[in-house]
């Protein structure tokens, strides 16, 4: 859809806004509706819009597939690391109180970190799934050509 001028310009205007909204609901999720799951999905939606307008190749230059794998594992590991850190500092698994002095600060730190981990995982998994679906068609066409 690269040749559609209107689509391209509207998308150029919208994508940063959607990404900004994603980041807002990620980090403002404690005070208004939002959190890791929503932010991840919204962020992935912005990226998918980018793929639809500019094509998969350009989008993979922005976030290569390898980075998606690394990030999606890092997200879960970040979540688990917060849990293990609680154990290491003398609490239970996923117990946020020992992390920082001050109960509210500890809980808020824990919640924000955990939500960040969830957000990164959800966003990259959605991107990865979409990449795989979009690429499959190309792979099929390639194999067909070789066959002829």
């Amino acid at each position: 859809m690269r040749e559609h001028g209107i689509l391209r310009i509207v998308a150029r205007f919208l994508i940063p806004l959607i990404m900004l909204f994603g980041l807002y609901i990620q980090f403002h999720g404690d005070y208004s509706p939002g959190g890791g799951f929503q932010a991840g999905v919204v962020f992935a939606a912005a990226w998918i819009l980018f793929v639809l307008i500019y094509g998969l190749e350009d989008a993979l230059k922005v976030i290569p597939e390898r980075a998606m794998f690394v990030l999606m594992l890092m997200g879960v590991l970040l979540y688990a690391a917060v849990g293990v850190a609680g154990v290491a500092l003398g609490g239970n698994f996923l117990d946020f109180y020992p992390l920082l002095p001050g109960e509210h600060a500890a809980q808020q730190f824990g919640i924000i970190t955990v939500e960040l981990g969830v957000g990164v995982t959800v966003a990259t998994v959605m991107m990865l799934i979409f990449t795989q679906f979009a690429r499959r068609r190309g792979l099929l066409a390639e194999v067909e050509e070789e066959g002829d």
């Binding site: 005070y31 929503q38 999905v41 109960e103 969830v118 795989q132 979009a134 792979l139």
Partner: protein
């Protein structure tokens, strides 16, 4: 709307109708006080899952094979199950009453203690990430596993389609 999704033969139109249906669901969730859920449903239902269905449709056929008439046994099963479920709902508590069993177990604790415990006004985030964080780590792993499963299914290089050799066809 949902009936139209099921009845439509053209899968592309059906996917589009499904997106609208998801958006309506999101509006319903917003009316029912679930802001977080409405946000997610709007992004997921109207955006991502519709696109995934469309991605499959680019590879597979767009039209559904027409089955003439209704599938009578399926209809009978569905009507019987539905009637049984409606009968079962008569025992359920009324909609929106504050003394329903759902609201009397742990929920009051969450609502009253969330702010004193952690200073986070959004109770959904507090319950999600702190009170039920082990639940949530499970969900994160499920999503990770689903991503890996899709990758495993779709990243394998497709085999060339076997063409039936002509002499075999002659032999048959």
């Amino acid at each position: 709307m949902a009936v139209a999704v099921v009845r439509m033969r053209d899968l592309f139109a059906s996917a589009m109708l499904f997106a609208i249906y998801s958006l309506l669901c999101a509006a319903l969730f917003a009316v029912l006080d679930a802001g977080d859920v409405a946000l997610t449903e709007a992004a997921v239902g109207a955006g991502i899952s519709t696109l995934l269905v469309l991605a499959v449709l680019t590879v597979a056929r767009r039209d559904e094979k027409t089955v003439p008439g209704h599938n009578l046994p399926a209809l009978v099963v569905v009507v019987i199950t539905g009637a049984a479920l409606v009968w079962a709902t008569l025992d359920l508590p009324e909609f929106g009453a504050p003394d329903n069993p759902v609201h009397t177990h742990v929920a009051p604790y969450y609502i009253e203690q969330a702010y004193p415990d952690m200073g986070v006004p959004n109770m959904v985030a507090a319950v999600l990430a702190s009170y039920r964080s082990i639940d949530t780590i499970g969900e994160a792993f499920v999503i990770l596993t689903a991503g890996l499963a899709v990758w495993a299914l779709l990243s394998v290089r497709p085999r060339r389609r076997r063409k039936v050799p002509p002499e075999e066809e002659d032999a048959q």
